[in-house]
Amino acid sequence: MNILVFGQIRDNSVEENLLGILNKLSEVFGDSEISAALLTNQVNNDWIESLGKHGVNRVYTVETPELEVYLSRPYVKAMLEIIKKAEPTLVLAAGTVYGEDLIPRLAIHHGVSCAQRFVDISRDGDDVLFHTPVRDDQAMKITKIVGNIKFATSRTGAFFINENPSGQSPEVEKLDVSFDSNDMIVKHVEIKKAERTVNLKDAKLIVAGGRGVGGKENFQIIKDLATTLGGEIGATRACTDLHWIEETYEIGQTGQSVSPDVYIAAGISGAPQHLSGVKAKTLIAINNDEGAPIFNFADYGIVGDLHVILPILKSKIKS
């Protein structure tokens, strides 16, 4: 198996979810050649070393100003050139927003489909099997791709990173790719980084609110319970988007990842995008929709109106 991964860089480091995939690959495809594609306006040797440590044997780089920020067309073009050169049989990316944009496009160029959001990968003879939870994680679908080249993205948060990687420095091969104005038809304007003034990573207890909280004022109920319990508050992206609560409190795929002892999810439906950021020892759900997927993940739950339940919970704990 000749494997190529999309060497995504985020916040000046190799994307953590990619490091997770590399750890999994060394376990399942230990005998395989692993290459990484590094597309950037300026190569940083730390990235190459980090990829090598985590098991990458060879890094293909394309270094040009057009690749400063991810944009579909130039990235697809550069990746297609690298694929031509590397001749991989399996192409993988972390299931980030960029990874999920890139991989299906590359697959289409090769006339095949792609597997997405896998949480496990295994081999069965020459087949590669992708294990993907579906329907609110109630069922596991295992798929394979028929074709000489297979494309897939993982689910973010699915794999652990090897904390003590021992790989060697990889070989580096530089490729030149040129771009025209048609490649740059989508214009990058800016990236608005969410302010992260509160670090929830080490919080032991979090009371988090979702769309069911219903408004900015109602978030006081969440805050009150968190204060009483001596914990932190959290929220889904919908709530921070609606400005019910500051964006620093966003938890999930695009927000903070948390691992508290207790996570109280109030008015949260339980979408994978939110729950992929939550690894709690105990999950307690309060939701008035008995059919909400959150109850499939909760250790404890109350089917009821959070606006009624939370204040009662608060006063009982206080007394």
């Binding site: 985020r10 927003v97 999920e100 890139l102 299906p104 496009r105 289409i108 160029h109 006339g111 095949v112 489909s113 792609c114 997405q116 069965d124 579906v134 329907r135 109630q138 069922a139 596991m140 679908k141 295992i142 798929t143 394979k144 791709i145 028929v146 038809i185 989508v186 990058h188 800016e190 990236i191 608005k192 032991k204 207890l205 009483t228 319990l229 001596g230 914990g231 992206r237 919908a238 988007d241 609606l242 695009t254 927000g255 002892d261 439906s269 307690i284 059919g291 997927p293 109850f295 499939n296 909760a298 404890y300 109350i302 089917v303 109106d305 009624v308 009662i312 919970l313 009982k316 704990i317």
Partner: protein, 266 residues
């Protein structure tokens, strides 16, 4: 401006089915089908442009047992017309094949400016259709849009990004996939819309109408093949309280937590 919105129809989360049963169409009633929430976001994006620039909006649904229900709801929300595409031979578990059907539909429709669709095709658990379609059509595209505004010669769009939001500008002829966001929060159907929807004629296209066949968009053409589908057995036992007065429920929860030695508070 002519806008095409592809909509996805899914089984409501209210339906009391578990795991693999969701994939058994014999267990699903027509009444259980609803428009995928992210498809509703896409409809809203198209209708906002209809409101401001007089665009015409055509809703197209390929999926589902009876896509007609979703399409009537789309008209009730404000879409000008709808097209149902259905054929027993379609295999839409493979996003590439669904993208192929969409491409053929657009070829038959002919002239169009903008394509909207929801970022997540829940019914096939696929998030790839928008990117595949854009690539096949060679259309500039933005996925997971959260907000948009018209600018000269195109649109300025903010899309979801880990740790924030990215702003890009795209030309007028483009593909936009929408995520769940306040900007794209769908409007309710109006009484007038519901009446219009009831009367609307919805043309139905088959595989042959689109020049497709089972060898192109049927199961035999799929490159993404299902090996198995099984229920995920959750080992932990959930303790869900669904009856009693609120106060009793809270007491019930607290005593169970105490019994299990789960400490609330730090």
């Amino acid at each position: 401006m002519k806008i095409i919105v592809f909509i996805d129809q899914i089984v409501s989360t209210q339906v009391k089915l578990q795991g693999v049963d969701f994939f058994d169409s014999s267990l699903i009633n027509e009444d259980d089908l609803v428009i995928n929430p992210t498809s509703k976001n896409a409809i809203e994006g198209a209708l906002k442009l209809k409101d401001t620039s007089g665009a015409s909006v055509t809703a197209v649904c390929v999926r589902g047992l009876k896509p007609i229900k979703a399409l009537r709801e789309a008209i009730a929300m404000g879409c000008n017309e709808a097209i149902e595409i259905a054929d027993d031979s379609f295999y839409t578990e493979d996003p590439m094949l669904l993208a192929k059907i969409y491409v053929s539909a657009l070829e038959k429709i002919g002239d169009f400016d903008l394509v909207f669709l929801g970022a997540e095709e829940q019914s096939t658990s696929s998030y790839a259709v928008g990117a595949m379609l854009a690539e096949r059509l060679d259309l500039p595209s933005v996925l997971y849009a959260e907000e948009m505004e018209s600018i000269e010669n195109g649109f300025r769009i903010g899309h979801i990004l880990e740790g924030g939001r990215k702003i890009v500008e795209i030309p007028k002829k483009a593909l936009i996939s929408t995520g769940d966001s306040p900007y794209f929060t769908p409007r309710y159907t109006s009484m007038r819309g519901i009446l219009t929807a009831k009367r609307a004629e919805v043309p139905k296209w088959s595989s042959a109408d689109l020049g497709l066949s089972a060898s192109v968009t049927g199961k035999e053409a799929a490159s993404l093949q299902q090996v198995s589908l099984s229920n995920i057995v959750i080992e932990k036992k959930s303790y869900i309280i669904n009856e009693g007065e609120p106060e009793e429920m809270v007491d019930n929860l607290l005593s169970k937590l105490k019994e299990d030695e789960v400490k609330l508070g730090v």
